[in-house]
């Protein structure tokens, strides 16, 4: 695989249903720009990504890959209420912001970059699939630097998240980001592998060749039984249980990988995730 180097990483972990003005105040730490017609999803995107590239020089053609499970839930619900409950036309900017790629737009505008701008989703594997797009573009030479992040609001009701995911994890607003380049100079880590498997047997076969690993972490749908089996195969020196420590959002993987970069110097992480269909995705990350 063509090399992808991580130059910085950051995760913004927000309390569910935090006052939007609080998020705006937090954002002032990273940019003097005033954001008027923006919503929670956009602010989370800006917060996570600005934190990630704070005081870094960005090439004007830096690409943005925004991955998300649910996109802009809150404002979409508001606009539906304007139409169906208030019996009115929606507010223009409210309607425009139901399109979740506006978050990636405001980020690019704020950073002064005009590269590729993609918003992509894939049930429970959104960040991993986004990384696959990045890998294609880097291998192609189409992109040389990019921001890739996973952003999701905690707007879904707790009982719904429990029904889908279980485990009793705290629901959070999550925004995890990596600033990546094809260039190694100044990097703090690297993406060593992005793998996809259609079943657990082929995934297990591949990861057995990786054992023993420094650190392992699991995505939301890996249950306790399966995690035990994977631990046995991998013999990890440590486990990073970011879901228990930091909470769950649709973009937990992005937050988990970003937090690993900040917390585990000199280690290699194997992050193992799966979707409802039993497809597996593994990201191997080295922190220098």
């Amino acid at each position: 695989m063509s090399e992808i180097f991580i130059h910085s990483a950051s995760a913004f972990i927000g309390t569910a249903n935090e006052d939007i003005n609080q998020l705006k105040k937090e954002l002032i730490r990273y940019t003097p720009d005033n954001f008027r017609r923006v919503n929670r999803f956009i602010l989370l995107t800006l917060l996570g990504a600005r934190q990630c590239v704070h005081e870094q020089y960005l090439d004007p053609y830096t690409a943005v890959y925004l991955t998300t499970e649910h996109g802009n839930l809150g404002e979409t619900a508001q606009v539906l209420d304007e139409i169906y409950l208030a019996h009115a036309l929606p507010k223009p900017f409210g309607f425009i912001n139901t399109m979740s790629n506006t978050a990636a737009f405001y980020l690019a505008q704020n950073l002064g970059i005009r590269g590729r701008n993609i918003t992509v989703s894939s049930q429970h594997l959104s960040f991993e699939r986004g990384m696959e797009l990045v890998r294609t573009d880097f291998a192609d030479g189409a992109e040389k630097s990019a921001l890739i992040g996973g952003v999701d609001e905690a707007s879904l009701p707790q009982e719904f998240t429990e029904e889908q995911i279980g485990h009793g994890w705290r629901r959070i607003d999550g925004s995890g980001w990596l600033y990546i380049k094809a260039e190694k100079d100044g990097a703090v880590g690297t993406i060593k592998a992005i793998m996809s498997f259609q079943d657990s047997a082929s995934c297990l076969m591949w990861i057995r060749e990786r054992a023993p690993v420094d650190v392992v972490s699991f995505g939301a749908l890996i249950d306790d039984y399966e995690a035990a089996k994977l631990r046995k195969a991998l013999l990890p020196a440590a486990e990073f249980d970011y879901l228990s420590e930091y909470g769950y959002s649709g973009s937990s993987t992005a937050c988990g990988v970003s937090l690993f970069i900040r917390l585990f110097q000199g280690k290699i992480l194997l992050h193992i995730n799966k979707d409802w269909r039993g497809h597996y995705a593994v990201i191997e990350v080295e922190r220098y």
């Binding site: 943005v64 649910h70 619900a77 139409i83 918003t119 992509v120 009701p157």
Partner: protein, 392 residues
């Protein structure tokens, strides 16, 4: 030698013109258009606006629609595209899905709410399984075993799905791809564009002096892309590009510099020069700003030698995130039928633009073509396709 080579081996679509490609191309050839008038009852507004509605039978009526209808349209289109490509069971399993839409499954929540004791927003918040749900439903239904990617980049969604499907086949990350563009009628979209004052009063007239906006349409389209041709005449994806114009969230810079750069990058990737392009399928929303920007950009790229420009939205409407797939099928099937489509509704040149799109069907042969797509959030996507390679 050109850059990428990914072949369009299967295709199907359902739109306001029908659900058979022959019927649709015949309608385009003879400039037949089917426009409905829809009201804004929920907002109590005393007028109607045009919309390109699917109107094949009773089941298509808005009042009769349900979740079942949403998935029937989707599965029927995908099934036809797979049949058109002639894929066998093993080939279907060995495929990735690239899905693009603006409204995603909002029409399902809107359609269901009358039958459920919940508000639309309540259903949306409690039942949303995310943007990826529809692609997964396609995979489950057809036994597709690969990965799925759902693009949400507003009106460029399925164009970007095509861009990536093509790139991943070319880089041998995937053998074949099913690319779906789907946007069904939603009040969210219809009322939203009305709130923006973007909907034309009566007629779609891109690039015309008296253009007054866009007219939305609903459609589902599916394309099978593979690394080799199956039939003589299969179109080839040669390359493409995507950039972000940060001028404004609603419109692109009227000077057209980023839009032009996107076109130039796509040409470069396809290893073609401007002189190699036989015709341009413009995005042509018919809004004042889009058409000005797009014309300025084409002039930057092609100078005074802009190739023939066609606009296919007047036939099926602006199908939002689905337009990448829908307009590619309309364009390629028309070319296969021997013509580059006219632009119905265009009557008078706008002196400010000084651009005359193809007014009558133009004879089409073998060549390279540029397809342009733009969207909210500054998204710009250009695809370059050709029918040269597979015609020998």
């Amino acid at each position: 030698m050109n850059g990428r080579k990914t072949y369009m081996t299967g295709k199907a679509m359902i739109c306001s013109l029908g659900d058979s490609l022959k019927e649709i191309v015949d309608a385009v050839r003879s400039k037949r258009i089917r426009l409905a008038q829809l009201s804004f009852d929920l907002a109590g507004l005393p007028y109607t606006k045009p919309y390109y509605l699917i109107q094949r039978n009773e089941g298509d009526k808005l009042a009769n629609r349900s979740e079942q209808y949403f998935y029937d349209i989707l599965y029927s289109t995908v099934s036809s595209a797979i049949a058109d490509a002639g894929l066998n069971g093993a080939e279907i399993r060995d495929m990735d899905v690239f899905f693009g839409s603006t409204s995603m499954d909002i029409p399902v929540f809107e359609g269901n709410h009358h039958r459920m004791m919940s508000t639309v927003s309540g259903m949306f918040l409690q039942s949303s399984y995310g943007y990826g749900k529809i692609a997964v439903a396609i995979m489950d239904r057809f036994g597709i075993g690969g990965s799925c990617y759902s693009f949400a980049t507003a009106c460029t969604s399925s164009a970007n799905a095509l861009l990536y499907a093509s790139a991943m086949i070319e880089s041998r990350r995937t053998k074949r791809a099913l690319v779906v563009g789907y946007d069904l009628f939603s009040n969210l979209g219809f009322y939203g564009f009305e709130a923006l004052k973007s909907i034309a009063a009566e007629e779609y007239r891109p690039f015309d002096k008296n253009r007054d906006g866009l007219i939305l349409g609903e459609a589902c389209g599916a394309i099978v892309l593979e690394g080799g041709p199956r039939k003589s005449g299969d179109f080839v994806h040669l390359g493409g590009a995507n950039l972000c114009d940060t001028f404004s969230v609603t419109s692109h810079d009227v000077e057209g510099s980023i839009v032009a750069e996107t076109m130039n990058r796509a040409l470069k990737q396809a290893r073609l020069g401007t002189g190699d392009i036989c015709a341009v399928k413009a995005h042509a929303t018919g809004t004042e700003s889009n058409d000005s920007t797009e014309t300025a950009a084409m002039r930057r790229v092609f100078g005074n030698g802009i190739p023939p420009v066609t606009c296919v939205k007047p036939f099926v409407g602006h199908t939002a995130g689905a337009c990448g797939v829908i307009e590619q099928i309309l364009f390629t099937e028309s070319v296969k039928g021997g013509f580059i489509p006219s632009t119905p509704g265009f009557r008078e040149v706008d002196e400010q633009l000084n651009l005359q799109p193809v007014a009558e069907n133009m004879e089409a042969g073998v060549g390279n073509f540029m397809l342009n797509y733009f969207g909210f959030g500054g998204n710009c996507t250009t695809l370059i396709i050709s029918n040269k390679a597979s015609m020998g």
